[in-house]
Every structure is written in structure tokens, then in C-alpha cells.
Assembly symmetry: C2
Homo-oligomer: 448 residues x 2
Amino acid sequence: MSDQCSRLRRSRTKITVLCLLITVIVLHGTFNRVNPDSAAEENRNHHAGAEAPRKRVDTRRLLEEAQNDSAQADNNNDKSYAEFDIAKILVDEEGGNEKPDPNKPYSLGPKISDWDQQRSEWLTNNPNFPNFIGPNKPRVLLVTGSSPKPCENPVGDHYLLKSIKNKIDYCRLHGIEIFYNMALLDAEMAGFWAKLPLIRKLLLSHPEIEFLWWMDSDAMFTDMAYELPWERYKDSNLVMHGWNEMVYNDKNWIGLNTGSFLLRNCQWSLDLLDAWAPMGPKGKIREEAGKILTRELKGRPVFEADDQSAMVYLLVKEREKWGEKVYLENAYYLHGYWGILVDRYEEMIENYHPGLGDHRWPLVTHFVGCKPCGKFGDYSVERCLKQMDRAFNFGDNQILQMYGFTHKSLASRRVKRVRNETGNPLEVQDKLGLLHPSFKAVKISDSS
Amino acid sequence: MSDQCSRLRRSRTKITVLCLLITVIVLHGTFNRVNPDSAAEENRNHHAGAEAPRKRVDTRRLLEEAQNDSAQADNNNDKSYAEFDIAKILVDEEGGNEKPDPNKPYSLGPKISDWDQQRSEWLTNNPNFPNFIGPNKPRVLLVTGSSPKPCENPVGDHYLLKSIKNKIDYCRLHGIEIFYNMALLDAEMAGFWAKLPLIRKLLLSHPEIEFLWWMDSDAMFTDMAYELPWERYKDSNLVMHGWNEMVYNDKNWIGLNTGSFLLRNCQWSLDLLDAWAPMGPKGKIREEAGKILTRELKGRPVFEADDQSAMVYLLVKEREKWGEKVYLENAYYLHGYWGILVDRYEEMIENYHPGLGDHRWPLVTHFVGCKPCGKFGDYSVERCLKQMDRAFNFGDNQILQMYGFTHKSLASRRVKRVRNETGNPLEVQDKLGLLHPSFKAVKISDSS
């Protein structure tokens, strides 16, 4: 009996150990499945400065090298961002030996130096594809997108769907075309960097585009009546929401936002993309660049390099080269951080009206940090989704009112009628003037 | 001890009964949550004729009344669909007494009889919103939509997202605007009938629209290069995929398809919508109308009235009134049933090319019966989703090739490069001519 008991005890112990082992393996696999890109994105926009998962790399030597490089660059009075020497970053962690890959530094594509001329000739030869579609009205392509995979969070795709409907509505009213991307064109530039190869490709393929408007999938239009002040930007090539002081004086990593920006189709922009890209390639380069950005920029948490921080760094380091053509806009919300807007919608409805675009009625409400598609955001899922519904309805009401309807409340999917049907539909009051807005009217010449 | 055992046994019995009771209640609630509309939609397009859930109503008297009405109508040589007397359908099931509601027969809105004139005047007064945007190029609004609720099947929203991206791509190339609807404008006309109030509202609000193109959310563009033959329809007001013989001779319920159709913005169309609507109001009217349709049409399963069957019935009953302006198109796939197309994509790629629009390269692949958003479709979920991915990629490849990429296979989300970057991007071969297609070019007059 006692032999039996002993055997039972031993096999029970073996089973217990086996189960523990399996549990450890599964947990390990689960935690390591967190995509380093999404971990980085989570933290990119986290205002409270929480830290992203740290990665253990022997970096002392790398930082010293990088510091030496920038010190050298400083000494040469050459504050070129390009002095950031990628090759020296690529070291063998184990051996400590340099393994530069000088044959293949990252490139967005073959260098083009005469794009303004190429484009100008094309436009002359193609008068049916003009870059201005009306007086003071440039041809604009709004570019956005999301992963080709279903969201890890099942409800995430529903919010992507509402978000694109929202963009379709604004763009239809404002005569803007949309490109929705679901393809990863360059595996090295995955995550938030994926927009760079895409933007370059679209600019070069569509010379008729005057401005490319990049917009994140978690940003929504909340002022359907606001037309961008194109005239204001006639001497600018890059327009982002931000503040000069926060960028150039404070070097604050959220001094500007790359979730919604305009980029003119011209040589300058191609050069900018080339200058912006080097911190992007994933792996060691992006990791090491992230450390530099955290060190150099105010308030930046520890995580791999992101495009927004890299833009701040680029502008700070090379202000003379780029600054003159960069417009940091804060007169209206080209990007509006959702946290300070969404609780005020009722107050806005009470006191203001669409068409203002600013704090009174924001053009864009941007749900940075929410990540409805993933499983790990910076804010509570419940708050994010509830507020995204409200923002969607806030914007959607401006569309529905054209047709005599409105949402029953900002929280409700359901709509109610607010204007009766009539036998004279063309005499209805179009209060916001959105049914046939002036900024959409184009003069079509007589067809031949 | 035995007292204790008895007590234990009794309480165990009580617990068992309680659990059974809860189980029954939960199951009952689960089964009754199946939306009757979706049950009807499931069956609408089921080609094998499976039966929808039957509803028990004492219908003998109702059918006799309806038959008498139509016999009377026949006797009067008046085959008016409007003779279908809704009022007589509204009976009290229990008492068998008629309870017509003559004060409120269903109406899409106040009768308008001079829409052609109203519209013509408006167009004259608004030359900046012409109804033709190029030679032989009418202004078209593509209308589609989905429920404001997240899909019951989590992956459903992902397919809605891919579907709208697909439509955005086609419409951008072809100069067509999109309206994505997520609002139920009229609770009585829920489900597939919801498109009628929406279509009427959009036509009346946008006189500049020449054609409204309704397209189901489960239909995808698979020929990005095919431009509709607008000239062919210059004397038509309603264009649907279908066959004259199947509709007028066979009265086959799938003799035409209302999942993708064109409707001209004119008085005739308003009248058609008014004539089409009566079978739509949900509840008894829709149920009883469904029985009539099943009886009258060939091959139709038993389920409530759907808009497609009602259209067949309307055209058959009132051919002289409507037939002349209805074009049943089958020279290309304005709607293409997915079942006979999706297994041939590789063969199409091998032998043909985009721009044909027909069986060789279908314009539209329509996933009737798949219902990725709901939980109950007519086909296996696995087959549907796999084929929807293939159809999406088949169409998406035509977009990607403009930029030098293609999907690794029709089953793969990933893309690969098929054309190197170049320093002369404007000289690349645009094989399909989609980068700057002629059907998109518009002549803009000099801005003043």
C-alpha cells in the first residue's frame, strides 16, 4: 500500500511539474507576443510619461559613439541629422565588434533631384489632371489606413469602419480624394514608419496631387464645415499641428503631431522624407535611435524611435534647412488631442457651431493612445470606446442634419427625425450650407 | 445520518431543478434573439430554395382577400400593383376582425409630381454643380452601408472594412462619390428595405446627382478598369443585372438583382420608389406580402417580402408602366454571383485582363448569402471568408500594380514588389492606364 502510495505521489509530482512547465511556456509565449511596434506606439503619445518595456542592450559604447558623432558634427558646424551614423550602430551585441552594413544603408528609393521639373512638365502635358481644382483649391489626397489583419480586439474593426465612414463624409463635402492603405510596402519600415514609403510612392505616382494629407486611423473629423485655409500655406511644404516654442525651444516630443499633417508634392518633400527615414528601419537602428530621442527630447518615454519624435529631432537639429517651409499650426485643431475635447461636446453644441475648427468646434479629434484595434492601450477601453462613439456622433450629426435627422443623443446609434419631409425639398434650409458647399463647387468647362 | 442524506438529496434536487430552469430561460432568450429581418435576408438569395422559418398566421382568409383583390384588379384590366390592398391585410389575428389603418398607409414622403421641373430649374441656377461632369459622364453617387452596431460575428466588421476600401478604390479611379450609410431613417423599413427611404432622401437632397448607384456591403469590385457604358443607358432610368425572360416570362425571383443597380434622379424614379415601397413595412404587411411573392414568383422560398422579389413582382404586374425605362443588363456583371466566379480567378488572370467587366473579368463579385456580419449564413463561413479574401485581393492587385506591388498570392494579405523604384517615376508603364484614366479626366475651366 505504501509502495502504491509512493508511486502515486511521485507520478503526481511529475504531473504537477509538467503542468507548471507548460504554464510557464504558454505565459512566456503570451507576453512575448506583444509586438514591439505596438508597445512603442502605446507610449509614443502617452502624456504622463509612463515607460515602455525596456530592452537590455549593452548601450554604453553605442551611446558614446553616437555622442562622439554628434559632438564631431557640432564641431564641424554641421548639424546635419545625416551625421547620425547608422553604420556605427550596427554592432554585434555579443562580440562587441562592429558589423556595419555599408552596402545597404536604408533608402526610400533612388535619389531624385529634379522632381519639381519632372512634375511641372507632366502637369503642362496633362491639363486634364490639374493640381488646382478651383480658385485657391489645391488637389488633395487624404491618405490613411490600417493593418490587413483583423484587429486583435474584435470591436476594433468596427471603429475602423466608423472612422473611415467619417473621413468619407468630410472628404466628399470638401472635394478630397481618399487612399486607404492596407499594404505594408516595406517590411523594414513597419508600424508608424510605414507611412513614409507609402507617402513617397503616392507623391511620385500622382503628380496631380498638390497636397498629401496623412491622417491616422484613430483620428476623426468633428467639424464637417471647416475648410482648411489653403492660402495660409502657400509658402509652406509641411503643415503639422504644433507650437514653435515647444519644438525649437523645449524640444518637447509632443511639440508637434504627425497623426494629421499636410505635405506638398515637391522636391523639398522628397528630401524631407529621405532625411526623416533613417531612424525608422526596425531592429537595432530603431531601438538605438529611440534611446537618442529619449535622451534628446523633453518628456519622451523609453521606447523605440517613432516618426513623430524623429520629426521633432530633425527640425531641431536642422532648423535652418527645413524650418522655413514648415508651418506649425495651432490656430485650429488640425490634430486635436481627444482628452481635452470629448467632455466638452455638449458645451460646444450649446455655445458654438460648425465651421470654427478650433477649441470651440475642433476640426479633428484624435484618439491617441486608445488603440481600439489592439489589446493594450494607454487608457481604459471603456472610456476610449465610449468617447469615440460620442466623437463619431458629434461629427455624424452634422451630416445627418443635412437630411433632417440627428442622433438621439451623442451616445446613441439611433437617429430621430428633426425636419419633416416636404414636397419642395430644394427649398429646405441648409443651415450649414453643406449640401452644396462653395468649397466643393468646381467650374466644369463645356465638354467637347 | 440518513436524515442528513435525505436533506442533502433534497437540496441537490432543488439545485438541479433550478439549474435546468436557468438553462431553459437562457436558451430561450438566445434563440429568440435571431432578428426576423436577417432570417429573411438569409433566404432571399438562397438559390437552393431552402425554407426560412415559418410563421404561424391564419392566412387563408387573408390570401383569399388578396386573391380577390387581384382578381378584381384583373377584371378591371387594371394590373396596378397599387391594388394590392394593404388595409385588408391588417387584421386582428385573434378576433379575425379587420383592423385597417386607413389613416396612415405607408408613405416614403409627400407626393411630388414636378420633380423633373424642380430639378431642372435648380441645375440651371447652379452651374457649379452640373449633373454631367464630363462628356458622356454623369455625376454618380455610390450608396452603400451597414448597421451602426458591431457585427455579431467579430470578423464581420473587418470584411465590411475591406469592402469599403475596395469601393473607395474603384470610385476614386472612376470619379464617383460615396455615401456610406449607418443610420436607419425609417424603423418600419428596416433590413433590406432601408435603402428605399435613403435613396429617396439622397435623390431629393442632391439634384446634381444624375445616377444613384446602390451597392450592397457584401458586393466587391473585381474589375477596377471597367467603366460603365453610360451611353447605353441614356434612355433608361433603372439598370439592374438580370434577364428579361427570367423576369417577364418565368417570374423567377432571382431574374434580377437589387444588390447593385443604377437609378436615375428623376420623377419616374420617385414614382417607382412609391410603387416599390408598399410591401416593405415590417410586421404583418411584410409577412403577408412575402406569402404572395412566394406564391407568385418561381423558386422563391417562404420568408417575408424582400425588395428584390417585390421588384420582380412589380415589373411583372406593371410591365407597361415601368418596363420601357428598365434596362435588365447581362452583358457584364453589374452584379456577379460569387458562387460561379471565385474559383475561376486564377484562370481569369491566366487568360484575360481587367477592363472586360463580364464573365472573363467580372466587374462585381457579390457574396450573396454569406452574411459575414451575422452568425447565420447560407454557406459555410470558412468558404465565404476565404473567397472574400480572394476576391478582395483579386481587385486589390489591380490597384497595387499601379504602384509596383502585388499580393503574394490571392490568399495572402502580404504584398511583394514587382517593379523596382526608379528615378523617373513618371515614365513607368501604367499597363492598365489606371493612374490617370481618361474616364476620370475632367476639363476644369480657368478659375476666375
